[in-house]
């Protein structure tokens, strides 16, 4: 076994969060009218499913099997922020969430002694994540006309605050499993 128990848990948590992300965007995609945004959300849905596959393969390549986790970051997130009620709110929560994901993966890349296979998986996923942020940002800008620029900004701010709360809770809750992340946060 090439992974510590904590590392295996964390990679499995990433995998579980990607699966939940795929399920979420799949459900959103099927409710939307045909549009450029619907095509992008469908693409996003496919990306998240692929990311889950990348994590499964990465964990397997390191001679382990993923741990079956039902919970994910998104669950706690929606609990704190409240359920999005419309497409703009879905895009706003997605923007905040995607930024958190990139930040999280970026910090993980800085972890000392990171296995090259894990590094490769994170870098591969981050290529897609950058596009996710771009298309969501563009969608929110376009929605300003319909929802009002101030309302869009308020909504993003509301979800950002919830995100900070949930992230702090996650670090506290999972303690040593994500110790390297807490060390990073404290060093700032």
């Amino acid at each position: 076994m090439n992974l510590s128990e904590n590392d295996l848990w964390l990679l499995s948590y990433y995998r579980s969060s990607e699966i939940n992300g795929a399920l979420f965007f799949g459900r959103v995609a099927r409710t939307m009218r045909p549009s450029k945004l619907q095509a992008e959300v469908t693409h996003h849905f496919a990306d998240e499913a692929q990311h889950a596959r990348y994590w499964t393969e990465c964990i397997n390549d390191l001679d382990c099997d993923p741990i079956r986790l039902r919970g994910s970051y998104q669950d706690q997130y929606l609990q704190a922020a409240g359920m999005p009620a419309n497409l703009m709110e879905i895009m706003a929560i997605t923007q905040v969430f995607e930024k958190r994901v990139i930040g999280q993966y970026h910090q993980h890349l800085k972890a000392p002694g990171l296995h090259p296979r894990i590094r490769q998986t994170i870098e591969r996923i981050m290529e897609d994540e950058r596009w996710h942020i771009k298309y969501v940002r563009d969608a929110l800008t376009e929605m300003e006309g319909r929802y009002g620029a101030a309302h869009v900004a308020e909504t993003v701010e509301r979800f950002s605050q919830a995100d900070q709360e949930v992230y702090a809770k996650t670090l506290a809750e999972y303690g040593e499993r994500v110790a390297f992340l807490r060390a990073e946060a404290e060093a700032r």
């Binding site: 399920l23 979420f24 459900r27 959103v28 099927r30 409710t31 939307m32 009218r33 045909p34 549009s35 450029k36 095509a39 929606l78 409240g82 359920m83 999005p84 009620a85 419309n86 497409l87 703009m88 709110e89 879905i90 090259p116 296979r117 590094r119 490769q120 870098e123 591969r124 981050m126 290529e127 897609d128 950058r130 596009w131 771009k134 319909r146 929802y147």
Partner: protein, 313 residues
């Protein structure tokens, strides 16, 4: 949408019967080791070959043109190869050793703006040159490749990058490092140039090397105009019918006094219902609006009032 190099043949046969998978872009590949008969050259081709210096270059050019002619004929296109300047939206050429390969789109596709092919036989890039054609993340991935597999991987990625470069309709100022492959380990997949243009590619193992084909996809093909369904006027039966199909509950159970919490206990499912109805009836609801909605009757009233209000804005 994927690129499908459905056929690879040394000589073209009378029929082209490859059936590409759904949504695939079929590309016909033809290889040739023999030169085109100089007596068969068109005026345009004679001008082009006359501009080449050296017998070796001339022979290679004629071999490549023979492959291209065969591929053009096989796809029903005009066969004067001088009419296809490169980079071309439909054709590409490559040669390695004495073998030339032509790639031609099997049919015209609105979204495809370029085709590229590259073949490498009996040649492996020097690993020290990897940083000249791979991006930082691709180099990072290369570190995880077992040492004995690196030469084959480098050769494959070299052909992929060359094929992407040739497929790019505006490649005058680009370098191979500008092209990012989504999954360097994959024999087929997608790639991008600095987020500006997307590509699909496929690599094929050959007995003495590897060959890759790429197609460039236009941005307009990604952001095409969409046919918009007409907006419906809210009525309870229509709303109930949509909810019934979303939550798989018989419509008979969806009376105005049915409570939403009982029908849709899963909050993700409720988001799906809420967004679907907003899309269908072209209205906007907020978290605040939904707090006061308890029954399907409440929901229908809310949608109706919002539709009227928002239509008057």
């Amino acid at each position: 949408m994927t690129v499908e190099a459905a056929s690879f043949r040394g000589e073209i046969s009378d029929s082209y019967s490859a059936i590409p998978p759904q949504n695939a872009i079929p590309v016909l590949l033809v290889a040739s080791e023999a030169p085109l008969d100089a007596r068969a050259l068109t005026a345009g081709e004679l001008t082009q070959v006359a501009a080449l210096s050296g017998a070796r270059r001339g022979a290679l050019w004629l071999t490549a043109r023979r492959a291209l002619r065969l591929a053009l004929a096989g796809t029903g296109r005009p066969t004067d190869t001088s009419a296809y300047p490169f980079p071309s939206p439909v054709a590409s050429l490559s040669h390695s050793a004495d073998l030339a390969v032509a790639a031609v789109l099997a049919a015209d596709y609105d979204g495809v703006v370029g085709v590229g092919v590259d073949i490498e036989l009996d040649r492996v890039p020097d690993p020290r040159t990897a940083s000249f054609f791979l991006t930082e993340s691709e180099l990072g991935w290369l570190e995880s490749v077992p040492t004995d597999e690196v030469p084959a991987v480098l050769t494959r990625l070299w052909t992929v990058k060359e094929a992407l470069f040739k497929a790019d309709p505006v490649n005058a100022e680009t370098t191979l490092r500008d092209y990012q492959v989504a999954d360097p380990a994959a024999m087929r997949g997608r790639a991008t140039r600095s987020g500006e243009i997307d590509f699909q590619y496929v690599s094929l193992a050959r007995p003495r090397g590897v060959l890759s084909v790429a197609v460039a996809l236009s941005q307009s093909s990604l952001s095409q105009s969409w046919k918009v369904d007409p907006v419906q006027t809210v009525d309870f039966d229509l709303m109930a019918s949509r909810i019934s199909s979303l939550i798989s509950v018989p419509i008979e159970r969806l009376a105005p006094d049915a409570t939403i919490a009982e029908l849709v206990p899963d909050s993700f499912m409720f988001i799906e219902v809420a967004v679907d109805l907003q899309e269908e009836f072209d209205v906007i609801l907020s978290q605040h609006d939904l707090k006061d909605v308890h029954t399907l009757g409440d929901l229908a009233e809310l949608l109706q009032s919002r539709q009227v209000e928002q239509a008057n804005v």
